[in-house]
Amino acid sequence: MFADFDFDVIIRSLPYLFYDGMTFTLTLTVLATIGGIVFGTLLALMRLSGIAPLALLAAGYVNLMRSVPLVLMIFWFYFLVPYIGQWMTGASRPIQVGAFVSSLVTFTLFEAAYFGEIMRAGIQSIPRGQVAAAQALGMTYPQTMGYIVLPQAFRNMVPVLLTQTIILFQDTSLVYVLSITDFLGAASKVAQRDGRLVEMYLFAAAVYFVISFAASQGVRWLQARTAIAR
């Protein structure tokens, strides 16, 4: 079965796989996480704000993103982002964006819906007494949120946010459908060029597994360390 397993093709393509592929994957993951958390927090605040139109808008956005497959969103944004850019900047022609920017926009906006729900749960888990105390001290809404509620909510939800980041890391493999060279894309290209499907796909699976497993163990350790006795 593994008689002519060609390790050589893996070793030869390691630089390409990791310099080109993995850096794309990791960069996309990190940036989309940061963007997603920022935008997601905004969505959470909108939903909890009590202003009906804002809440409705945020809820509608979240439900839309959660109803549609990520693959479909990737296609949508790949063709749509230049038009959005044109509309937003009032330019005379669609804005040129590359594959990376388009993927970044897609993943940020898509994951923001999920990060938003996590942050919303986090904000709602802060005892009302905190908000009341802040208001008693004369803090405004932005101050309450910025100094009291959000830092605590964030700290509480770090393990869940990190788990969602691991899911994001795995989801970046879907940019394959646009022939973009992320880690899986790079492995596929080598596999197809050299006819070495078995080796490359098994290797790709192993790498994803090791990274995701290590990361989830890390989250578990973090959870154990920071568990607050309530």
Partner: protein, 249 residues
Amino acid sequence: MNYNWNWAVFLQISPDGVHTYLATLILGTGWTLATALAAWCMALVFGSIVGVIRTTPHPWLVRLGNGYVELFRDIPLLVQMFLWYFVLPELLPADLGDWLKQLPNASFYTAVVALGFYTSARVAEQVRAGIMSLAGGQRMAALALGLTLPQAYGYVLLPLAYRIILPPLTSEFLNVIKNSAVALTIGLMELTARARAMQEFTFQVFEAFTAATVIYIVINIAVTFAMRRVERRVAVPGMIGTAPQAVSH
């Protein structure tokens, strides 16, 4: 914006000469639902088994279950599909591999198997969480009454656990429907693949994808609605809310 809108494109005949583009989208939806349902059944069966064995008092069974879940959760779904579709036939003896490759609906079966295993790991998590959330007293009382462990699970724990985890299971089912779209990479002509094909043949990008988006939203609403009614009917009185759920989408 130099894009010429043409909503009438749905009524054009597609290149296969028989179906309109709208009909191809409906066909695609059929494949999406078929894949999702088949994979879901598989996931429920395997997931329940693994979820249960993770809560038994046998450490090696628990470790086996944990390993199963870690394996299928830490590899992206797309990579798993590739392994089943491209790698498995090459690793089997030549005749078996060739037979697999020549199956008329190879991508459907592969997608169901891949999606089934992937989702079963997540269902296992939910089932385990559901069983653990039941007060330990239930299990102990059942055992004290003289039920064997399998009987305790079958008559006491599982019926309660399933009703508790129905909400997270619903969202897992919705995930299965969405994840079926990943199968387009192995050639399954489900809804997203059909929308893409329509876009490629007619160049009407936005019309095609809007239709697919609308169909997914409708499916989502229909399933959520139906499941909410089921949940209300089977809710266990006195046990509010859900078991602590793993974050999922």
